[in-house]
């Protein structure tokens, strides 16, 4: 429990830092959300609307900084993230609520698949070191170096435009009403295959390479040699002795790389016009919709922090040392 509690405190600090950055960046930077909205409707919005807009967008500078900060924290805790300036009367939290399920399903599933498959391949490559899998690694590393969105463009060009195997972007076929019926779910799955393939192919090499390297180092340890010398079956040596230990740094690496992978996946959504957070982000950026941008930043950060906490729980489960520390105390 001590380990988990310490990590929990760390994530709370990280969340607080993110919230505070989110509060101070707009106040330190020269740009202005209100002026962005005003310039969108020249002539329609009178200068007198300035104050009202400020209050509405939650960027009003009324009261002391400390007072504003407190009001901001209270707002965020009620999921009140202000009003989007590009899709004007819509609440940021409503827009996020519509986009999150799409992204969470697609990016979440694809990332987990990539991690599991990549780790399994890494175990094999590390064990059969110098084998066939090792020889394809440079090719996979090339895939890893390709920007997600560019790889997405290529896949779209080949599979959707040339061969018409997959649909060209969007989250579901036009004309369907989103809901829990098979037409819609089937269409949504069909439309998510190519984006998912992009994420898996571009991120798998990283997990594989990392696992292979840790695995090779672990195999050199005396206890693995001893296990082999005892004549244990290979499968037992690989999974119970080598891979289980090699998995711990791999999981930690997963937590740290998650933010990067998710960010890349978001940019990729833009290419596919996938109705998730990434597309929302593009809209926010291109129309200077600061409240929406900040809301997206908070949502992504909190999701990544939560995922890291879950990973820590898995580490405690997998690593007796993390549990033993509390006994020792």
């Amino acid at each position: 429990m001590v380990f988990i509690l310490r990590r929990l405190v760390f994530y709370l600090v990280a969340a607080w830092v993110a919230l505070t950055l989110n509060f101070f960046i707009p106040r330190l930077m020269p740009g202005n959300a209100v002026e962005a909205v005003m310039s969108k409707f020249p002539g329609i919005l009178q200068p007198s609307a300035y104050r009202a807009l400020e209050a509405l967008l939650g960027v009003g500078h009324a009261g002391s900084l400390w007072h504003q900060y407190w009001a901001y924290l209270v707002d965020v805790s009620h999921f009140n993230l202000g009003v989007s300036s590009s899709q004007y009367p819509a609440q940021v939290s409503t827009l996020l609520g519509e986009a999150i399920p799409w992204t969470l399903t697609l990016v979440g599933t694809a990332t987990i698949i990539a991690f599991v498959v990549g780790t399994a391949l890494g175990i094999m490559a590390g064990w059969r070191y110098g084998g066939t899998l090792d020889r394809v690694l440079p090719g996979l590393m090339f895939l890893q170096a390709i920007p997600y969105f560019f790889f997405a463009l290529i896949l779209l060009e080949v599979f959707a435009l040339k061969f018409h195997v997959f649909p060209v972007g969007q989250g579901y076929a036009g004309g369907l009403v989103p809901g829990w019926h098979w037409d819609f779910i089937g269409s949504a799955i069909y439309h998510s295959l190519l984006p998912a393939l992009t994420i898996v192919l571009t991120s798998i090499a990283g997990w594989m390479l990392q696992m292979r390297n840790v695995m090779i180092t672990t195999i050199g340890e005396d206890y693995v040699v001893a296990a082999q010398a005892k004549g244990l079956p290979n499968r037992r040596v690989i999974f119970t002795y080598a891979a289980r230990n090699a998995l711990l740094p791999q999981l930690q690496g997963f937590g740290l790389a998650l933010g990067f992978v998710v960010s890349g996946a978001l940019i990729m959504e833009i290419v596919f016009s996938y109705p998730g957070i990434g597309l929302l982000l593009l809209g926010a950026v291109s129309s200077d919709d600061f409240p929406l941008m900040q809301g997206i930043f908070l949502v992504i950060t909190f999701t990544v922090l939560l995922a890291n906490l879950i990973i820590d729980l898995v580490i405690v489960f997998a690593d007796p040392r993390a549990r033993a520390r509390e006994v020792a105390r």
Binding site: P26, P147, L153, V168
Partner: protein, 351 residues
């Protein structure tokens, strides 16, 4: 029965290998490939802008040159507005690489300062600096970059460099801190302290030189991050869209529906350039890793000894093990060779 292994090391050949070309030859293949690919792009970045066939921003009004396929006049075709893609690409490689290298230098310097300071000062400073770097490691950087750049009024090269450097140091700092902690208590540091060396001198001349390989790896990683992040940011429009970097070319290509209109020459070359630069850096980094940790070297560094692939880190082979398994025709042919005399197949085992 004592048999020597059929490998001979000629002392003369070892001596010559210490010359510089020998060092290059002994580098892992991956590092060599990476260095060559990167060298190509560095050359392109230096020479490219001098030899661009056209002004990259010049919009040729001729309707025939709107999204024209590659031809002799325009080697990589033209954009929607008749701009020459090759010229844009050459300038773009320069701008992107320039940005990435500057970010690499600044962010790596920051991470060395923070990492060494945390490990060397210890106590509350260490706790504080480690906490800050861990927090910034776990907060996803791209969304933060986006709001930072979004609020900046000018989104030029300088703003991007500042923002990317400001968020690119935590990973390196963490690695360098760990390494500094490991060597802080070594004898040579204590010796330096005993002889009355000043702290800054110990840091600059004893500790940092011992971390050069780590700093190099951290630099390569940071350059990789800077390329990826700057291209992604430009792709969503957070850059000076009137300048030509690889990301802005992709931004315009995507915005003008180059993909849907089949103008592959517009978006494939810049994307491929990014991918190749990235792959070169990844290969270089893996090569540096392998140089430091021979275990990681792949099959290419293994040498074939008596028909079995052996890696440098394998235990010295026992002859019994070295005997190869030959079956069928290969075994039959082998029985005519001189090395078959070394076989112990008369012992009765059917290998």
């Amino acid at each position: 029965m004592t048999v020597t292994l059929p490998i001979s090391v000629d002392p003369a050949s070892l001596a010559t290998e210490d010359a510089v070309p020998g060092r290059w030859r002994r580098m892992p293949t991956k590092a060599k490939v990476g260095a060559v690919v990167l060298g190509f792009f560095v050359l392109a970045a230096i020479i490219g802008p001098l030899v661009t066939p056209y002004d990259p921003s010049y919009q040729n009004p001729s309707p025939a040159l709107s999204m024209a396929a590659p031809s002799a006049a325009h080697l990589l075709g033209t954009t929607e507005t008749g701009q020459d893609v090759l010229s844009q690409l050459l300038i773009g490689i320069r701008l992107t690489l320039e940005l990435a290298v500057i970010v690499g230098v600044v962010a790596t310097a920051l991470s060395v300062i923070v990492g060494v300071a945390a490990a060397f000062l210890g106590g509350i400073w260490d706790e504080l600096l480690s906490l800050v770097s861990n927090v910034f490691l776990v907060i996803p950087s791209l969304p933060l970059l986006i709001i930072l750049l979004g609020y900046l009024p000018q989104k030029g090269q300088l703003a991007t460099i500042a923002v990317l450097s400001g968020l690119g140091w935590p990973w390196g700092a963490r690695v360098i801190r760990a390494q500094t902690l490991a060597i802080r208590n070594r004898d040579f540091i204590s010796a330096a302290r005993e002889t009355g060396e000043k702290t800054w001198r110990i840091l600059a001349f004893e500790i940092v030189p011992n971390e050069v390989s780590l700093i190099a790896a951290s630099f390569v990683n940071t350059v990789l991050y800077a390329i990826g992040a700057s291209v992604a940011l430009a792709f969503i429009g957070l850059a000076d869209l009137n300048s030509w970097s690889l990301g802005t070319i992709l931004y315009w290509a995507e915005g003008q529906q180059a993909l849907q209109l089949g103008a592959w020459w517009w978006f494939v070359p810049p994307g491929l350039a990014v991918a190749l630069m990235g792959a070169g850096l990844v290969l270089l980094n893996t090569g540096i890793d392998e140089l430091g940790n021979p275990r990681l070297r792949d099959a290419s560094s293994a040498s074939r000894i008596a028909g079995r692939w052996l890696r440098p880190t394998d235990p010295t082979p026992v002859l019994q093990e070295v005997q190869q398994r030959r079956t069928g025709l290969a075994g039959f042919l082998h029985s005519f060779s001189r090395s078959s005399l070394l076989d112990q197949s008369q012992a009765g085992d059917t290998l």
